[in-house]
C-alpha cells in the first residue's frame, strides 16, 4: 500500500471538488473492495476522501412514486428495507445473493456499483492487464477465463463486472444521480453507467473525473414477480458464473438482465419482447454475437437454462 493523505468530506459537492483538487484521489465509503486493491497496489490513490459523513444514507420516496436510495445506504439496509422487499424484490434478492453478511454491512450502494472486476489477471500485478496498466496487454485472453466475459468483450479486455445489485438495478431501469465538482447534478441511466471495455477497459463507468454518486433512484414499482437466480460453484460467497434478474408480469411479458457474462449488467430490450417465445429464443437474442472462450463456452447454454429456471420460478411464485 502506498502512503496516502486523507480527508473527511462533509458536503457532496465539496467531496467532488476535493477529488479534482487532489490528483490521484479516490472516494472511500465501505472500503470493502478499495482497501483490498490498495494492499495489492492495484489501486494506488494518493489521497482518500472519506464520504461516510455526507449523510447520504436514507431511502426516500420520490415524487414519481419510486425510491431514492442514498449513495451510502448499506447493502444490508437496502436489502432489508420493507419498501424494497415489497416493490423491488429482485433488488433485495440480488443483494443478499452477494458477498457475505459482514461485507454487506459495510458495502454501500454507490460503492457496490463501482466494484471492480474479479478477473484473476487483474489481481496479479505480475501479469499484463489493460485495466491496471493501460497498454500492457491482456493476459486473460488465451489464459484461464472460466469466469470471464462471453459478450461485449474486446481484444483489450475480457473481464466481467462481478456484482449482483447492479444486475437487478438494470432490470429495474434505475438511474444514478451524481454531483460534479462544480456542483452540477445529473442523472445517468443505469444502462449507460457501466461501459463496455473497448480500447479503454480502465475506464469502467460514465463518471467524469471527480464526479460523485449521491443516489440511485428507482422508478415506480413495476409489479410482477421478481426473481434473482444466481448460479455458482458453491452455495454462498461466490461470484456468479451467470445470474439472471427477472421481473415477469402476469401476461408473460417482463424484463431480464444477466450478470456474470459481460463488462456490465447485460440487458437487451429486443430479447425481452420475445419472452413469450421462451427462454431459448430470448437467450439467443440476448447473446447474439457472443464470443466465448473455450473455458467459458458453457455460459452460453447456462444463460438459456438459468433464464428458463427464472421464468419457471416466476410462474411458480406468481
Amino acid at each position: 500500500m502506498r502512503p496516502f493523505t486523507y480527508e473527511r468530506a462533509t458536503k457532496p459537492a465539496d467531496a467532488a471538488a476535493a477529488a479534482v483538487r487532489n490528483p490521484g484521489a479516490k472516494f472511500i465509503a465501505g472500503g470493502t473492495n478499495l482497501l483490498d486493491l490498495m494492499k495489492l497496489e492495484i489501486e494506488v490513490p494518493r489521497h482518500l476522501i472519506d464520504v461516510n459523513g455526507l449523510g447520504l444514507d436514507t431511502i426516500q420516496p420520490t415524487a414519481e412514486g419510486g425510491l431514492r436510495i442514498g449513495a451510502l445506504v448499506t447493502n444490508t439496509d437496502l436489502a432489508a428495507d420493507q419498501r424494497v422487499r415489497r416493490d423491488y424484490g429482485v433488488l433485495s434478492r440480488a443483494i443478499v445473493a452477494g458477498a457475505s453478511g459482514q461485507l454487506r454491512n459495510k458495502a454501500t450502494t454507490a460503492g457496490n456499483l463501482l466494484q471492480r472486476t474479479r478477473c484473476p489477471y487483474f489481481y496479479d500485478t505480475n501479469q499484463a492487464c489493460n485495466k491496471r496498466r493501460p497498454g500492457s496487454g491482456c493476459a486473460a485472453i488465451g489464459g484461464y477465463s472460466r469466469q470471464l466475459a462471453v459478450i461485449g468483450s474486446s481484444s483489450a479486455c475480457i473481464a466481467t463486472y462481478p456484482g449482483d445489485m447492479a444486475v437487478a438495478m438494470r432490470a429495474l431501469d434505475a438511474a444514478v444521480e451524481t454531483v460534479a465538482p462544480n456542483g452540477a447534478v445529473r442523472t445517468i441511466p443505469i444502462a449507460d453507467f457501466h461501459r463496455l471495455p473497448g480500447d479503454t477497459p480502465h475506464i469502467e463507468t460514465a463518471l467524469a473525473p471527480g464526479e460523485l454518486i449521491i443516489a440511485v433512484t428507482l422508478p415506480r414499482p413495476l409489479g410482477g414477480t421478481h426473481v434473482y437466480r444466481k448460479v455458482r460453484d458453491r452455495a454462498s460467497y461466490a461470484f456468479a458464473l451467470v445470474s439472471v434478474a427477472a421481473v415477469i408480469q402476469r401476461d408473460g411479458s417482463g424484463r431480464v438482465a444477466v450478470g456474470g457474462i459481460a463488462h456490465k449488467p447485460w440487458r437487451v430490450e429486443a430479447a425481452e419482447r420475445r419472452l413469450a417465445e421462451g427462454s431459448k429464443v430470448v437467450a439467443a437474442t440476448l447473446l447474439a454475437g457472443a464470443k466465448p472462450t473455450q473455458d467459458n463456452a458453457f455460459k452460453v447454454p447456462l444463460v438459456e437454462r438459468t433464464l428458463a429456471a427464472a421464468l419457471h420460478d416466476a410462474r411458480n411464485m406468481a
Binding site: 497496489e41 428458463a308 429456471a309
Partner: protein, 739 residues
Amino acid sequence: MKFDTPAGTNPIDQLKVVGKPTDRIDGPLKTTGTAPYAYERHDVASGQAYGYVIGAGIAKGRIRAIDLAEAKAAPGVLAIVTADNAGKLGKGRMNTAKLLGGPDIDHYHQAIAVVVAETFEQARAAAALVRVDYARAKGRFDLDAALKAAPLKGDSSGEGSSAPPIDRVGDFDAAFAAAPVKLDARYTTPDQSHMMMEPHASIAAWNGDELTLWTSNQMIAWGRGDVARTLGIPKEKVRLISPYIGGGFGGKLFVRADAIMAALGAKAAGRPVKVALTRPLMANNTTHRPATTQRIRLGCSRDGRITAIAHESGSGDLPGGGPETAVSQTKLLYAGANRLTAMRLAVLDLPEGNAMRAPGEAPGMMALEIAMDEMAEKLGIDPVEFRILNDTQVDPAKPERRFSQRQLVECLRLGATRFGWDARNPKPAQVRDGRWLVGMGVAAGFRNNLLMKSAARVGIDAKGMVTVATDMTDIGTGTYTIIAQTAAETMGVPLDRVIVLLGDSSFPESAGSGGQWGANNSTAGVYAACMKLRDSVAQRLGFNSADVTFAGGKVMSGNRSVPLAEAAGPAGLSAEDAIEYGDLDKRYQQSTFAGHFVEVGVDAWTGEVRVRRMLAVCAAGRILNPKAARSQVIGAMTMGVGAALMEELAVDKRFGFFVNHDLASYEVPVHADIPHQDVIFLDEVDPISSPMKAKGVGELGLCGVGGAIANSIYNATGVRVRDYPITLDKHLQFLPSVA
C-alpha cells in the same frame, strides 16, 4: 518400549478416560482467541521487525538484475535479503526447490527477497518498490503434454502411501483380455491447495549463533533438521517452537519460506523478525497436491468377481520431485488374482507438488471408486454388494499377510442400513424433488495405518501433577486432549491433573502430525513413558511393579496406598521413553476402512450440485476420543466436498502458474455447502497397531468421499463425469432439456 507382539490387556483398556468424548482441554484457549499462534508471539522476543516475502514474477528463467535502491530508501526499511547477500544456503531434505530463489528461478512466486522493516505496512510498501529484471525461459507447464514422454517412477509419499514404478501380480493382460465384463476408463484430478486458515508464519530470533523459531509446523524434528541444513548450522543450534497450528493438511510438514526468510531477515536486521506468507503466496510459493491423470481397468466375471485390476497414474513435479502415489490403495483394497499398478512422473516447472491430506489415496480413491461404481452398473450389481463381493481379508499380493483388522464389509453394511440405501433407485436420473435431480452414491474409504517411533517425557511433581512433554504437534486435531487422556488413564489421575506441553524441539522427538499417524503413535509414546514412570514410582516405594495399581491419584499395592504426590517426593519423578515398533506392520497389513454414503441434489436447470446429506462409517481401531475423532472425520468429509465439487488450482499453461491464488477464486466449501453429516465409528480395537490399539481417522474421513459424491451425481443425472472437480459445466450440456 519395544512393541513387537500384539498388545495384551493393559492399563489403557480400563477406558476410564481414554475413549471418552472429552471436550478439548485446549478448547477454551481456542474459542476465546487466546491460544497464541506463531505470528502472535509478541511476548517472546522484544523489538520484532516485520519481513515481507517477494515471490518471483516468472515461472522459469533467471533474474538479470534486482534494483533495491528505492526500496532500501523507503521509510522504516531495516534490511533486504536476496540470494546475492544471503550467503551460501543449503536445501532441506524435504524441499524440492530452494526456498530462496535467484538468480535462477525454479517456479512462480518462489521467494526471491525478504524486505524487513519496522512495520508490516512499511515492509509491504517497500517490497513493491523492488524492481526485478527477469529473463524468462521456456518451461514445462502442461501435464498432459509432459506425460506423453514421462518415465515410470516409483515412490513413497512418506505418508504411508507408496508404490513401485510398476507392480505386477499374476498376469493382468491375459486376465483382462479374457474377462467377460470390462471397464477401461480415464480419470483426472486437479492440482489442489491446502489453504489452511493460518498461513505459514514464523518469528525468528538469533542469540549469537543460536536460532529460535516460533513457527507453525507439523513435524518439529524434520523442521529442525531442515532449517539447520538450509542455513548450514548444526541442528543443536536450532530450536523450533510450534505449540498451536491453525491447520496444516500436509502443507506444514515441511520448512517453508516463512521460516527461512525470517531467520535470514533477523540475521540481516540484527533483530527478531516475523514473517507470514500472504494468501496469494500460498498457492504458488508453498506446496500443493499434484494433479493426476489416471487409467483404471477392471475385468470381472459375470457374477461380479474382479479377475483383473490395473491402476496407472501420471503426475508431474519439479526436477527432483516425486509422483503422486495415487495407485497405492489399489494394491490392497479389492481382491483379484491379476493386478497391475504403475506410476509415471513428468517433469514440470510448476510449483512444488507434495503431500496434502492423504497424499496418494485421496486422488487415487477419487478415481478408483468411480471405476467401481461404473463396473457395478455394467454388472447390474448393487455397488455396495459389488464391493462386498470383492472384499479381501489378506494382502492380495501376499495372501499369507492378513489385515490386522479389516471391517470394510461391516462399514458398508451398517452404512447402507443407516443411510437408507435400499431407497436408492439404481437406474440414474429417476428421482426428482422440485428443481432437484436427486441421487445417492457410495464409496469405500481406505487409508493405511503407519507405525512411527514416538517419544515423550512424563513427570510427576510434588503436588501430584502429571506433566507430559513431547515435540508432537496439535494441528487442530485434538492431540493435546488425547495425550492428556492417555497420561491420565495410565497414571490413574483425573484429566485436570495432567499438563501437556507440545511442539518444542527441546522435548523428546515424536512421530509428529501427518499421514493420520499422529494419534496412535504419539499416545503410544506417551503410554511408554508413563509405564516407565510407573516403574520408577513402584521402585521408589519398594512395590513390586507387576501388582501395582494406579488409580484415583494413588499408587496401590496389596493393602498399601500412597498418594502419587507423596510417591513423587519433593523433587518429583520423571521418565522418558519411546514407542518403537518391530515388524508387526510387515507381518500384517494395517489399514483403516470406511463406507462413505452421500445424497446430492443437482439443479435440473443449472446443473449446480449441492450435497444433501453424508454419512461415514469408520473402522479405525480404538477411537481415543469420539468427539475429537468425529470432528476430524467431519472436517475430512467437508474437504472431500471441496475436492469433488469445486477445488482446483487453475494452471496457466503459457506462463506456468496457478492463476486463482486467493480464497475468492480458489473456492473451498462454505457453511451453506455442508448439510447434514453423520459419522459412526465401529467398535473396534486393533491390538496389532500399538498398546493403544488405535489407528488414525484424519485422512480416512477424506479418502473415498469424492468418489461417493461423483457416484451420487451420476445416480442423480445419468451423466458420468470423470474429471474433478465436478463443476456444472462438465455435465450441463448432457442434462435433460428444461426449456
